[in-house]
Symmetry: C2
Subunit: 121 residues, 2 copies
Amino acid sequence: MDGIHLLGEWYGCAADIPEMTRVQPLRTLCLHASEASGMTIVGDSFHQFEPAGVTGTVLLAESHLAIHTWPEHGFVTIDVYVCNYTTDNSAKAERLLRAMQDAMKPQRVKFQAIHRGGRDA
Amino acid sequence: MDGIHLLGEWYGCAADIPEMTRVQPLRTLCLHASEASGMTIVGDSFHQFEPAGVTGTVLLAESHLAIHTWPEHGFVTIDVYVCNYTTDNSAKAERLLRAMQDAMKPQRVKFQAIHRGGRDA
């Protein structure tokens, strides 16, 4: 159950791009980026906040992507968590985070990579 | 956009309880625990793995809950992330994590609390 969890906080994202403000463009981006990164999608849920802002998750066979946007602050948090159950999915996780970052274009990022799981106690 | 992200890894959970193995009992538990903790649910998505095991997320107005179960290893990972945008939701997050832990009854836990966000750059 060894896995890696990537956590990003992105500042200075363009407040007015559709992926920051509206649910369908962000959902489309997340699904496309997940597929393009080699992930296997098994579900998703996205919610539109009014007047603008989105919360969403993509369920992956590898674990999950979660994203929250605050357009009024140009702020995004993102999580990409993958379990390396049968194969090492770390490179897929990094590709997915990179693809999302390239699309959302933050001016400044905070990043943490957290190792999770490991051998049973 | 200041927030707190609680990450749990739970070992030694009972492999045969319905919440470990099947999607509907785990979904029901997550939704009830979220509500009981004072969270506002805005969406959810859960997936059944075969022969057993579940991946799921609950979208919250406060941010999200994510959970993954590996019954064959008695192993669970859980995330509770809340943004303290208009009010401090940290206590709700701790209540939710506690309620889930009381239900899944791990024999050993790893726990991290990560501060996220903060003032704009």
